[in-house]
Subunit: 298 residues, 2 copies
Protein backbone atom coordinates (compact mmCIF):
# COMPACT_ATOMS: atom_id res chain seq x y z
CA UNK A 1 0.00 0.00 0.00
CA UNK A 2 1.42 3.41 -0.96
CA UNK A 3 0.50 4.95 2.39
CA UNK A 4 2.51 2.28 4.24
CA UNK A 5 5.50 2.94 2.00
CA UNK A 6 5.23 6.68 2.68
CA UNK A 7 4.96 6.15 6.42
CA UNK A 8 7.89 3.75 6.27
CA UNK A 9 10.01 6.34 4.48
CA UNK A 10 8.95 8.99 6.97
CA UNK A 11 9.88 6.79 9.93
CA UNK A 12 13.20 5.63 8.46
CA UNK A 13 14.35 9.06 7.30
CA UNK A 14 13.10 11.07 10.26
CA UNK A 15 16.63 11.24 11.59
CA UNK A 16 16.43 9.45 14.90
CA UNK A 17 19.77 8.73 16.51
CA UNK A 18 18.96 4.99 16.78
CA UNK A 19 20.27 5.24 20.29
CA UNK A 20 18.24 2.27 21.60
CA UNK A 21 19.67 -0.22 19.07
CA UNK A 22 23.18 1.14 19.70
CA UNK A 23 22.69 0.82 23.43
CA UNK A 24 21.55 -2.80 23.40
CA UNK A 25 24.16 -3.73 20.81
CA UNK A 26 27.21 -2.52 22.70
CA UNK A 27 25.77 -3.59 26.04
CA UNK A 28 25.32 -7.10 24.67
CA UNK A 29 28.75 -7.11 23.05
CA UNK A 30 30.23 -6.25 26.44
CA UNK A 31 29.00 -9.73 27.46
CA UNK A 32 30.10 -11.36 24.15
CA UNK A 33 26.49 -12.02 23.14
CA UNK A 34 25.46 -12.97 19.63
CA UNK A 35 25.54 -10.19 17.03
CA UNK A 36 22.50 -11.20 14.99
CA UNK A 37 20.16 -11.50 17.98
CA UNK A 38 21.28 -8.14 19.39
CA UNK A 39 20.67 -6.48 16.04
CA UNK A 40 17.21 -8.04 15.79
CA UNK A 41 16.25 -7.00 19.29
CA UNK A 42 17.68 -3.53 18.73
CA UNK A 43 15.62 -3.09 15.57
CA UNK A 44 12.53 -4.16 17.43
CA UNK A 45 13.18 -1.66 20.22
CA UNK A 46 13.50 1.05 17.56
CA UNK A 47 10.26 -0.10 15.93
CA UNK A 48 8.39 0.15 19.22
CA UNK A 49 9.92 3.58 19.77
CA UNK A 50 8.93 4.75 16.27
CA UNK A 51 5.39 3.40 16.58
CA UNK A 52 5.04 5.13 19.93
CA UNK A 53 6.22 8.42 18.41
CA UNK A 54 3.66 8.10 15.62
CA UNK A 55 0.89 7.57 18.16
CA UNK A 56 2.15 10.33 20.41
CA UNK A 57 1.94 12.67 17.40
CA UNK A 58 -1.82 12.34 17.21
CA UNK A 59 -3.52 15.59 18.00
CA UNK A 60 -6.96 16.91 18.75
CA UNK A 61 -8.73 19.58 16.72
CA UNK A 62 -7.68 22.79 18.44
CA UNK A 63 -4.11 21.70 19.06
CA UNK A 64 -3.57 20.91 15.44
CA UNK A 65 -2.63 24.37 14.28
CA UNK A 66 0.13 24.85 16.82
CA UNK A 67 2.00 21.62 16.25
CA UNK A 68 5.16 21.16 14.25
CA UNK A 69 5.23 19.11 11.01
CA UNK A 70 4.78 15.73 12.68
CA UNK A 71 3.66 12.52 11.05
CA UNK A 72 0.09 13.30 12.05
CA UNK A 73 0.29 16.64 10.28
CA UNK A 74 1.79 15.15 7.12
CA UNK A 75 -0.42 12.09 6.83
CA UNK A 76 -3.40 12.77 9.09
CA UNK A 77 -4.26 11.37 12.51
CA UNK A 78 -5.95 8.28 11.23
CA UNK A 79 -3.10 7.22 8.95
CA UNK A 80 -0.45 7.54 11.66
CA UNK A 81 -2.56 5.61 14.17
CA UNK A 82 -3.18 2.74 11.79
CA UNK A 83 0.36 2.95 10.40
CA UNK A 84 1.70 2.83 13.96
CA UNK A 85 -0.47 -0.22 14.69
CA UNK A 86 0.82 -1.88 11.55
CA UNK A 87 4.42 -1.12 12.40
CA UNK A 88 4.00 -2.34 15.96
CA UNK A 89 2.21 -5.56 15.05
CA UNK A 90 4.82 -6.31 12.36
CA UNK A 91 7.48 -5.84 15.03
CA UNK A 92 5.69 -8.11 17.51
CA UNK A 93 5.22 -10.70 14.79
CA UNK A 94 8.98 -10.71 14.12
CA UNK A 95 9.66 -10.77 17.86
CA UNK A 96 7.38 -13.77 18.31
CA UNK A 97 9.35 -15.56 15.60
CA UNK A 98 12.43 -15.33 17.82
CA UNK A 99 10.55 -17.85 19.97
CA UNK A 100 11.36 -16.51 23.44
CA UNK A 101 8.30 -15.56 25.52
CA UNK A 102 10.55 -13.68 27.96
CA UNK A 103 11.42 -11.25 25.18
CA UNK A 104 7.71 -10.84 24.51
CA UNK A 105 7.05 -10.17 28.20
CA UNK A 106 9.63 -7.37 28.19
CA UNK A 107 8.19 -5.80 25.04
CA UNK A 108 4.53 -5.97 26.09
CA UNK A 109 5.46 -4.53 29.51
CA UNK A 110 7.28 -1.69 27.76
CA UNK A 111 4.47 -0.90 25.31
CA UNK A 112 1.99 -0.81 28.18
CA UNK A 113 4.23 1.48 30.21
CA UNK A 114 4.76 3.79 27.22
CA UNK A 115 1.05 4.29 26.63
CA UNK A 116 0.33 4.75 30.35
CA UNK A 117 3.09 7.36 30.66
CA UNK A 118 1.89 9.26 27.62
CA UNK A 119 -1.64 9.28 29.00
CA UNK A 120 -0.29 10.51 32.33
CA UNK A 121 1.63 13.29 30.59
CA UNK A 122 -1.46 14.19 28.58
CA UNK A 123 -3.50 14.46 31.77
CA UNK A 124 -0.88 16.79 33.27
CA UNK A 125 -1.04 19.10 30.27
CA UNK A 126 -0.60 22.70 31.52
CA UNK A 127 -0.83 21.58 35.13
CA UNK A 128 1.81 23.70 36.88
CA UNK A 129 1.22 21.66 40.04
CA UNK A 130 2.54 18.46 38.43
CA UNK A 131 4.66 16.91 41.18
CA UNK A 132 8.25 15.74 40.85
CA UNK A 133 7.01 12.25 41.56
CA UNK A 134 4.53 12.39 38.68
CA UNK A 135 7.16 13.79 36.35
CA UNK A 136 9.52 10.99 37.41
CA UNK A 137 6.80 8.46 36.55
CA UNK A 138 6.40 10.02 33.11
CA UNK A 139 10.17 9.93 32.54
CA UNK A 140 10.37 6.27 33.57
CA UNK A 141 7.41 5.20 31.45
CA UNK A 142 8.04 7.37 28.43
CA UNK A 143 11.80 7.16 28.02
CA UNK A 144 13.64 5.04 30.56
CA UNK A 145 11.42 2.01 29.94
CA UNK A 146 12.93 1.11 26.55
CA UNK A 147 16.51 1.42 27.84
CA UNK A 148 15.57 -0.70 30.83
CA UNK A 149 14.02 -3.16 28.36
CA UNK A 150 17.32 -3.22 26.43
CA UNK A 151 19.13 -4.11 29.64
CA UNK A 152 16.51 -6.74 30.53
CA UNK A 153 16.82 -8.31 27.06
CA UNK A 154 20.58 -8.57 27.50
CA UNK A 155 19.98 -10.23 30.88
CA UNK A 156 17.58 -12.72 29.24
CA UNK A 157 20.19 -13.49 26.60
CA UNK A 158 22.63 -14.14 29.44
CA UNK A 159 20.13 -16.55 30.97
CA UNK A 160 19.35 -14.45 34.03
CA UNK A 161 15.92 -15.33 35.39
CA UNK A 162 15.16 -12.17 37.36
CA UNK A 163 15.98 -10.04 34.36
CA UNK A 164 14.49 -6.77 35.59
CA UNK A 165 16.79 -6.85 38.62
CA UNK A 166 19.89 -7.52 36.57
CA UNK A 167 22.75 -5.00 36.55
CA UNK A 168 22.14 -4.42 32.84
CA UNK A 169 18.45 -3.55 33.38
CA UNK A 170 19.47 -1.22 36.22
CA UNK A 171 22.09 0.37 34.00
CA UNK A 172 19.52 0.78 31.21
CA UNK A 173 17.05 2.38 33.61
CA UNK A 174 19.69 4.81 34.90
CA UNK A 175 20.82 5.61 31.37
CA UNK A 176 17.26 6.17 30.12
CA UNK A 177 16.43 8.46 33.03
CA UNK A 178 19.61 10.43 32.46
CA UNK A 179 18.84 10.67 28.76
CA UNK A 180 15.41 12.23 29.43
CA UNK A 181 16.54 14.58 32.23
CA UNK A 182 19.40 15.72 30.02
CA UNK A 183 16.84 16.45 27.29
CA UNK A 184 14.77 18.46 29.76
CA UNK A 185 17.91 20.35 30.78
CA UNK A 186 18.99 21.13 27.22
CA UNK A 187 15.50 22.33 26.31
CA UNK A 188 16.02 25.27 28.69
CA UNK A 189 19.78 25.79 28.58
CA UNK A 190 21.23 24.52 25.32
CA UNK A 191 18.45 23.83 22.86
CA UNK A 192 20.79 24.31 19.89
CA UNK A 193 22.31 20.95 20.77
CA UNK A 194 18.90 19.32 20.28
CA UNK A 195 18.45 21.23 17.01
CA UNK A 196 15.24 22.68 18.40
CA UNK A 197 13.90 26.00 19.55
CA UNK A 198 14.31 26.28 23.30
CA UNK A 199 11.69 26.24 26.04
CA UNK A 200 9.50 23.84 24.11
CA UNK A 201 8.47 22.04 27.28
CA UNK A 202 7.24 25.30 28.79
CA UNK A 203 5.49 26.21 25.51
CA UNK A 204 3.87 22.77 25.34
CA UNK A 205 2.63 22.89 28.93
CA UNK A 206 4.95 20.20 30.29
CA UNK A 207 6.53 20.64 33.73
CA UNK A 208 10.09 19.25 33.81
CA UNK A 209 13.00 19.34 36.27
CA UNK A 210 14.27 22.88 35.50
CA UNK A 211 10.80 24.33 36.09
CA UNK A 212 10.44 22.34 39.32
CA UNK A 213 13.77 23.71 40.53
CA UNK A 214 12.79 27.25 39.51
CA UNK A 215 9.40 27.09 41.20
CA UNK A 216 11.02 25.89 44.40
CA UNK A 217 13.69 28.62 44.38
CA UNK A 218 11.44 31.48 43.28
CA UNK A 219 9.92 33.96 45.71
CA UNK A 220 6.14 34.31 46.02
CA UNK A 221 5.71 37.17 43.53
CA UNK A 222 7.97 35.38 41.04
CA UNK A 223 5.92 32.22 41.46
CA UNK A 224 2.79 34.21 40.66
CA UNK A 225 4.52 35.70 37.62
CA UNK A 226 5.51 32.21 36.38
CA UNK A 227 1.92 31.10 36.85
CA UNK A 228 0.72 34.11 34.81
CA UNK A 229 3.22 33.41 32.03
CA UNK A 230 2.13 29.75 32.02
CA UNK A 231 -1.53 30.77 31.60
CA UNK A 232 -0.56 33.16 28.78
CA UNK A 233 1.25 30.33 26.99
CA UNK A 234 -1.77 28.11 27.48
CA UNK A 235 -3.89 30.82 25.85
CA UNK A 236 -1.48 30.87 22.90
CA UNK A 237 0.86 33.75 23.77
CA UNK A 238 4.40 32.45 24.34
CA UNK A 239 6.39 35.58 23.60
CA UNK A 240 6.58 37.07 27.08
CA UNK A 241 7.45 33.71 28.65
CA UNK A 242 10.32 33.15 26.20
CA UNK A 243 11.73 36.49 27.38
CA UNK A 244 11.19 36.28 31.14
CA UNK A 245 11.64 32.59 32.01
CA UNK A 246 15.32 32.43 30.96
CA UNK A 247 16.04 35.47 33.15
CA UNK A 248 14.35 33.86 36.14
CA UNK A 249 16.25 30.62 35.47
CA UNK A 250 19.52 32.57 35.38
CA UNK A 251 18.74 34.52 38.53
CA UNK A 252 18.07 31.34 40.50
CA UNK A 253 21.04 29.44 38.98
CA UNK A 254 18.74 26.66 37.82
CA UNK A 255 21.13 25.48 35.08
CA UNK A 256 23.83 24.96 37.69
CA UNK A 257 21.56 23.08 40.11
CA UNK A 258 20.11 21.00 37.34
CA UNK A 259 23.46 20.03 35.85
CA UNK A 260 24.70 19.08 39.31
CA UNK A 261 21.84 16.55 39.47
CA UNK A 262 22.78 15.30 36.02
CA UNK A 263 26.44 14.98 37.00
CA UNK A 264 25.42 12.74 39.92
CA UNK A 265 23.36 10.53 37.63
CA UNK A 266 26.21 10.44 35.16
CA UNK A 267 28.71 9.23 37.76
CA UNK A 268 26.44 6.27 38.58
CA UNK A 269 26.17 5.35 34.91
CA UNK A 270 29.92 5.56 34.37
CA UNK A 271 30.42 3.31 37.41
CA UNK A 272 27.90 0.87 35.91
CA UNK A 273 29.75 0.92 32.59
CA UNK A 274 33.02 0.32 34.42
CA UNK A 275 31.65 -3.01 35.62
CA UNK A 276 31.07 -4.35 32.09
CA UNK A 277 33.48 -7.22 31.38
CA UNK A 278 34.57 -6.60 27.77
CA UNK A 279 36.74 -3.56 27.28
CA UNK A 280 36.25 -2.77 23.57
CA UNK A 281 32.43 -2.52 23.55
CA UNK A 282 32.50 -0.74 26.90
CA UNK A 283 34.75 1.88 25.34
CA UNK A 284 32.46 1.99 22.32
CA UNK A 285 29.49 2.78 24.55
CA UNK A 286 31.48 5.54 26.20
CA UNK A 287 32.56 6.86 22.79
CA UNK A 288 29.11 6.58 21.17
CA UNK A 289 27.48 8.27 24.11
CA UNK A 290 30.13 10.77 24.94
CA UNK A 291 28.12 13.56 23.37
CA UNK A 292 25.08 12.46 25.30
CA UNK A 293 26.83 11.95 28.60
CA UNK A 294 28.71 15.24 28.42
CA UNK A 295 26.50 18.06 29.59
CA UNK A 296 28.20 21.37 29.04
CA UNK A 297 28.71 23.24 32.30
CA UNK A 298 26.31 26.19 32.40
CA UNK B 1 -5.51 6.66 36.16
CA UNK B 2 -9.03 8.14 35.90
CA UNK B 3 -8.89 8.35 32.10
CA UNK B 4 -8.12 4.63 31.85
CA UNK B 5 -11.08 3.88 34.13
CA UNK B 6 -13.34 6.03 31.96
CA UNK B 7 -12.14 4.39 28.76
CA UNK B 8 -12.58 0.99 30.38
CA UNK B 9 -16.16 1.82 31.33
CA UNK B 10 -16.83 3.13 27.82
CA UNK B 11 -15.45 -0.02 26.20
CA UNK B 12 -17.24 -2.41 28.56
CA UNK B 13 -20.62 -0.69 28.43
CA UNK B 14 -20.61 0.20 24.75
CA UNK B 15 -23.00 -2.65 24.07
CA UNK B 16 -21.04 -4.93 21.78
CA UNK B 17 -22.62 -8.30 21.20
CA UNK B 18 -19.41 -10.12 22.28
CA UNK B 19 -19.90 -12.26 19.25
CA UNK B 20 -16.20 -13.17 18.92
CA UNK B 21 -15.92 -14.65 22.45
CA UNK B 22 -19.23 -16.50 21.96
CA UNK B 23 -18.02 -17.85 18.64
CA UNK B 24 -14.72 -19.25 19.93
CA UNK B 25 -16.37 -20.57 23.10
CA UNK B 26 -19.01 -22.69 21.42
CA UNK B 27 -16.70 -23.68 18.60
CA UNK B 28 -14.18 -24.94 21.17
CA UNK B 29 -16.87 -26.66 23.22
CA UNK B 30 -17.92 -28.51 20.08
CA UNK B 31 -14.49 -30.16 20.36
CA UNK B 32 -14.71 -30.58 24.18
CA UNK B 33 -11.90 -28.10 24.73
CA UNK B 34 -11.13 -26.56 28.09
CA UNK B 35 -13.56 -23.88 29.32
CA UNK B 36 -11.05 -21.60 31.04
CA UNK B 37 -8.69 -21.36 28.07
CA UNK B 38 -11.54 -20.67 25.65
CA UNK B 39 -12.84 -17.90 27.88
CA UNK B 40 -9.37 -16.36 28.15
CA UNK B 41 -8.80 -16.47 24.41
CA UNK B 42 -12.29 -15.14 23.76
CA UNK B 43 -11.69 -12.19 26.09
CA UNK B 44 -8.44 -11.45 24.30
CA UNK B 45 -10.15 -11.50 20.89
CA UNK B 46 -12.70 -9.03 22.26
CA UNK B 47 -9.92 -6.84 23.64
CA UNK B 48 -8.20 -6.72 20.25
CA UNK B 49 -11.55 -5.92 18.64
CA UNK B 50 -12.27 -3.13 21.15
CA UNK B 51 -8.78 -1.62 20.80
CA UNK B 52 -9.15 -1.70 17.04
CA UNK B 53 -12.52 0.09 17.28
CA UNK B 54 -10.97 2.77 19.49
CA UNK B 55 -8.21 3.35 16.93
CA UNK B 56 -10.62 3.24 14.03
CA UNK B 57 -12.62 6.01 15.74
CA UNK B 58 -9.77 8.48 15.42
CA UNK B 59 -10.68 11.31 13.12
CA UNK B 60 -9.04 14.17 11.34
CA UNK B 61 -10.01 17.79 11.80
CA UNK B 62 -12.67 18.31 9.15
CA UNK B 63 -14.33 14.96 9.62
CA UNK B 64 -14.83 15.56 13.30
CA UNK B 65 -18.08 17.41 13.04
CA UNK B 66 -19.88 14.76 11.07
CA UNK B 67 -19.04 11.77 13.21
CA UNK B 68 -21.30 10.13 15.76
CA UNK B 69 -20.48 10.18 19.48
CA UNK B 70 -17.54 7.79 19.28
CA UNK B 71 -14.81 7.27 21.83
CA UNK B 72 -12.67 9.80 19.99
CA UNK B 73 -15.43 12.38 20.29
CA UNK B 74 -15.99 11.74 23.99
CA UNK B 75 -12.37 11.52 25.10
CA UNK B 76 -10.36 13.07 22.27
CA UNK B 77 -8.21 11.46 19.60
CA UNK B 78 -5.11 11.26 21.71
CA UNK B 79 -6.77 9.59 24.68
CA UNK B 80 -8.39 6.86 22.57
CA UNK B 81 -5.14 6.15 20.72
CA UNK B 82 -3.13 5.80 23.91
CA UNK B 83 -6.01 4.04 25.69
CA UNK B 84 -6.25 1.62 22.76
CA UNK B 85 -2.50 0.98 22.96
CA UNK B 86 -2.79 0.34 26.67
CA UNK B 87 -5.72 -2.02 26.22
CA UNK B 88 -3.96 -3.90 23.43
CA UNK B 89 -0.64 -4.23 25.23
CA UNK B 90 -2.42 -5.41 28.41
CA UNK B 91 -4.15 -8.03 26.28
CA UNK B 92 -0.90 -9.15 24.65
CA UNK B 93 0.74 -9.31 28.06
CA UNK B 94 -2.02 -11.63 29.30
CA UNK B 95 -1.80 -13.63 26.09
CA UNK B 96 1.94 -14.05 26.49
CA UNK B 97 1.34 -15.41 29.99
CA UNK B 98 -0.62 -18.28 28.43
CA UNK B 99 2.81 -19.37 27.19
CA UNK B 100 1.94 -20.51 23.68
CA UNK B 101 3.79 -18.66 20.89
CA UNK B 102 1.34 -20.05 18.31
CA UNK B 103 -1.44 -18.07 20.00
CA UNK B 104 0.77 -14.99 19.80
CA UNK B 105 1.41 -15.62 16.10
CA UNK B 106 -2.34 -15.71 15.43
CA UNK B 107 -2.95 -12.51 17.38
CA UNK B 108 -0.08 -10.50 15.87
CA UNK B 109 -1.13 -11.65 12.37
CA UNK B 110 -4.67 -10.49 13.12
CA UNK B 111 -3.66 -7.09 14.51
CA UNK B 112 -1.47 -6.47 11.48
CA UNK B 113 -4.28 -7.46 9.11
CA UNK B 114 -6.77 -5.23 10.98
CA UNK B 115 -4.60 -2.13 10.67
CA UNK B 116 -3.76 -2.85 7.01
CA UNK B 117 -7.45 -3.30 6.15
CA UNK B 118 -8.44 -0.11 7.91
CA UNK B 119 -5.73 1.78 6.06
CA UNK B 120 -6.95 0.26 2.80
CA UNK B 121 -10.52 1.30 3.59
CA UNK B 122 -9.33 4.79 4.49
CA UNK B 123 -7.52 5.07 1.15
CA UNK B 124 -10.70 4.06 -0.68
CA UNK B 125 -12.71 6.76 1.07
CA UNK B 126 -15.28 8.13 -1.43
CA UNK B 127 -13.72 6.18 -4.27
CA UNK B 128 -16.72 4.93 -6.24
CA UNK B 129 -14.34 2.83 -8.37
CA UNK B 130 -13.35 0.64 -5.40
CA UNK B 131 -13.30 -2.86 -6.89
CA UNK B 132 -15.07 -5.90 -5.50
CA UNK B 133 -11.67 -7.44 -4.94
CA UNK B 134 -10.52 -4.49 -2.84
CA UNK B 135 -13.74 -4.52 -0.86
CA UNK B 136 -13.28 -8.25 -0.28
CA UNK B 137 -9.78 -7.56 1.05
CA UNK B 138 -11.18 -4.97 3.44
CA UNK B 139 -13.86 -7.39 4.64
CA UNK B 140 -11.31 -10.14 5.23
CA UNK B 141 -8.87 -7.91 7.06
CA UNK B 142 -11.33 -5.82 9.01
CA UNK B 143 -13.91 -8.37 10.11
CA UNK B 144 -13.29 -11.93 8.98
CA UNK B 145 -9.75 -11.99 10.39
CA UNK B 146 -10.78 -12.21 14.05
CA UNK B 147 -13.30 -15.01 13.37
CA UNK B 148 -10.66 -16.83 11.38
CA UNK B 149 -8.30 -16.25 14.32
CA UNK B 150 -10.92 -17.80 16.65
CA UNK B 151 -11.02 -20.87 14.43
CA UNK B 152 -7.22 -21.01 14.25
CA UNK B 153 -6.94 -20.78 18.05
CA UNK B 154 -9.34 -23.69 18.42
CA UNK B 155 -7.19 -25.64 15.94
CA UNK B 156 -4.08 -24.84 18.00
CA UNK B 157 -5.84 -26.05 21.14
CA UNK B 158 -6.63 -29.25 19.26
CA UNK B 159 -2.94 -29.62 18.44
CA UNK B 160 -3.30 -29.04 14.70
CA UNK B 161 -0.03 -27.76 13.23
CA UNK B 162 -1.33 -26.13 10.07
CA UNK B 163 -3.90 -24.20 12.05
CA UNK B 164 -4.88 -21.67 9.37
CA UNK B 165 -5.93 -24.51 7.05
CA UNK B 166 -8.02 -26.24 9.72
CA UNK B 167 -11.75 -26.67 9.21
CA UNK B 168 -12.37 -24.41 12.20
CA UNK B 169 -10.28 -21.57 10.73
CA UNK B 170 -12.11 -22.01 7.41
CA UNK B 171 -15.44 -21.95 9.22
CA UNK B 172 -14.38 -18.83 11.11
CA UNK B 173 -13.34 -17.12 7.89
CA UNK B 174 -16.64 -17.99 6.20
CA UNK B 175 -18.60 -16.87 9.24
CA UNK B 176 -16.70 -13.58 9.53
CA UNK B 177 -17.19 -12.79 5.85
CA UNK B 178 -20.88 -13.58 6.11
CA UNK B 179 -21.15 -11.40 9.21
CA UNK B 180 -19.69 -8.38 7.38
CA UNK B 181 -21.61 -8.86 4.12
CA UNK B 182 -24.80 -9.24 6.15
CA UNK B 183 -23.97 -5.97 7.87
CA UNK B 184 -23.47 -4.31 4.49
CA UNK B 185 -26.80 -5.73 3.35
CA UNK B 186 -28.73 -4.59 6.42
CA UNK B 187 -27.26 -1.10 6.16
CA UNK B 188 -29.23 -0.63 2.93
CA UNK B 189 -32.26 -2.86 3.46
CA UNK B 190 -32.98 -3.34 7.15
CA UNK B 191 -30.99 -0.83 9.16
CA UNK B 192 -33.48 -0.96 12.03
CA UNK B 193 -32.09 -4.40 12.85
CA UNK B 194 -28.64 -2.84 13.37
CA UNK B 195 -30.22 -0.07 15.49
CA UNK B 196 -28.72 2.46 13.10
CA UNK B 197 -29.84 4.92 10.51
CA UNK B 198 -29.67 3.34 7.08
CA UNK B 199 -27.33 4.01 4.16
CA UNK B 200 -24.46 4.83 6.49
CA UNK B 201 -21.94 3.19 4.19
CA UNK B 202 -23.06 5.40 1.31
CA UNK B 203 -23.02 8.46 3.59
CA UNK B 204 -19.54 7.57 4.84
CA UNK B 205 -18.13 7.05 1.36
CA UNK B 206 -17.66 3.28 1.63
CA UNK B 207 -18.48 1.08 -1.37
CA UNK B 208 -20.02 -2.23 -0.27
CA UNK B 209 -21.68 -5.18 -2.02
CA UNK B 210 -25.15 -3.61 -2.55
CA UNK B 211 -23.61 -0.59 -4.25
CA UNK B 212 -21.41 -2.83 -6.42
CA UNK B 213 -24.50 -4.77 -7.50
CA UNK B 214 -26.42 -1.57 -8.17
CA UNK B 215 -23.63 -0.01 -10.21
CA UNK B 216 -23.40 -3.13 -12.32
CA UNK B 217 -27.15 -3.31 -12.94
CA UNK B 218 -27.74 0.40 -13.50
CA UNK B 219 -27.95 1.98 -16.94
CA UNK B 220 -25.47 4.66 -17.97
CA UNK B 221 -27.60 7.71 -16.99
CA UNK B 222 -28.36 6.07 -13.62
CA UNK B 223 -24.67 5.40 -13.07
CA UNK B 224 -23.99 9.08 -13.71
CA UNK B 225 -26.76 9.98 -11.26
CA UNK B 226 -25.27 7.69 -8.59
CA UNK B 227 -21.89 9.32 -9.16
CA UNK B 228 -23.47 12.79 -8.74
CA UNK B 229 -25.24 11.73 -5.52
CA UNK B 230 -21.95 10.29 -4.23
CA UNK B 231 -20.16 13.61 -4.89
CA UNK B 232 -22.98 15.50 -3.17
CA UNK B 233 -22.62 13.27 -0.11
CA UNK B 234 -18.87 13.80 -0.16
CA UNK B 235 -19.54 17.54 -0.14
CA UNK B 236 -21.80 17.10 2.91
CA UNK B 237 -25.27 16.87 1.35
CA UNK B 238 -26.76 13.41 1.96
CA UNK B 239 -30.47 14.22 1.70
CA UNK B 240 -31.01 13.59 -2.00
CA UNK B 241 -29.02 10.34 -1.91
CA UNK B 242 -31.09 9.03 1.01
CA UNK B 243 -34.17 9.59 -1.14
CA UNK B 244 -32.99 8.33 -4.52
CA UNK B 245 -30.62 5.45 -3.77
CA UNK B 246 -33.28 3.24 -2.12
CA UNK B 247 -35.50 3.70 -5.19
CA UNK B 248 -32.69 2.70 -7.52
CA UNK B 249 -31.90 -0.31 -5.30
CA UNK B 250 -35.56 -1.34 -5.44
CA UNK B 251 -35.79 -0.87 -9.19
CA UNK B 252 -32.78 -3.13 -9.79
CA UNK B 253 -33.82 -5.73 -7.17
CA UNK B 254 -30.50 -5.35 -5.38
CA UNK B 255 -31.84 -6.61 -2.04
CA UNK B 256 -32.95 -9.81 -3.71
CA UNK B 257 -29.63 -10.37 -5.51
CA UNK B 258 -27.66 -9.51 -2.45
CA UNK B 259 -29.63 -11.79 -0.14
CA UNK B 260 -29.24 -14.62 -2.65
CA UNK B 261 -25.46 -14.24 -2.27
CA UNK B 262 -25.86 -14.26 1.50
CA UNK B 263 -28.03 -17.35 1.38
CA UNK B 264 -25.28 -19.17 -0.51
CA UNK B 265 -22.69 -18.17 2.08
CA UNK B 266 -25.09 -19.18 4.82
CA UNK B 267 -25.56 -22.68 3.40
CA UNK B 268 -21.80 -23.24 3.47
CA UNK B 269 -21.59 -22.15 7.08
CA UNK B 270 -24.49 -24.37 8.13
CA UNK B 271 -22.75 -27.28 6.41
CA UNK B 272 -19.55 -26.44 8.29
CA UNK B 273 -21.47 -26.34 11.59
CA UNK B 274 -23.05 -29.68 10.75
CA UNK B 275 -19.58 -31.24 10.76
CA UNK B 276 -18.85 -30.22 14.37
CA UNK B 277 -18.69 -33.31 16.59
CA UNK B 278 -20.51 -32.25 19.77
CA UNK B 279 -24.22 -31.73 19.35
CA UNK B 280 -25.07 -29.43 22.29
CA UNK B 281 -22.55 -26.64 21.55
CA UNK B 282 -23.25 -26.95 17.83
CA UNK B 283 -26.91 -26.30 18.55
CA UNK B 284 -25.89 -23.43 20.85
CA UNK B 285 -23.96 -21.81 18.02
CA UNK B 286 -26.98 -22.15 15.77
CA UNK B 287 -29.25 -20.75 18.48
CA UNK B 288 -26.91 -17.92 19.46
CA UNK B 289 -26.40 -16.94 15.86
CA UNK B 290 -29.87 -17.60 14.56
CA UNK B 291 -30.62 -13.90 14.51
CA UNK B 292 -27.39 -13.24 12.67
CA UNK B 293 -27.69 -16.07 10.21
CA UNK B 294 -31.31 -15.33 9.37
CA UNK B 295 -31.48 -12.56 6.81
CA UNK B 296 -35.06 -11.50 6.27
CA UNK B 297 -36.10 -12.03 2.66
CA UNK B 298 -36.54 -8.68 0.92
Amino acid sequence: MPILKQLQRYVVTSGGKRIRPLFIYYLGKAYRLENAELIRLGSLLEIVHAASLLHDDVVDGAEERRSKPTGAKLFGNKAVVLGGDHLLSSGLQALNNLGNPQYMAVFTDAIKALSAAELLQMQQHFNLKTSRKTHAEVVDGKTAVLFRAAGALVAIMRGQGDFYRSETAELGLAFGRFFQYRDDYLDYFDAARLKKRGLQDFSNGIVTAPLHILLQAAEKPEQRRIEALWRAVEAGDTQQALKEIPDLMAKHRVAFKCSADLARMQRDILAGLEALPEKAPRERIRAEFQKILAVAPP
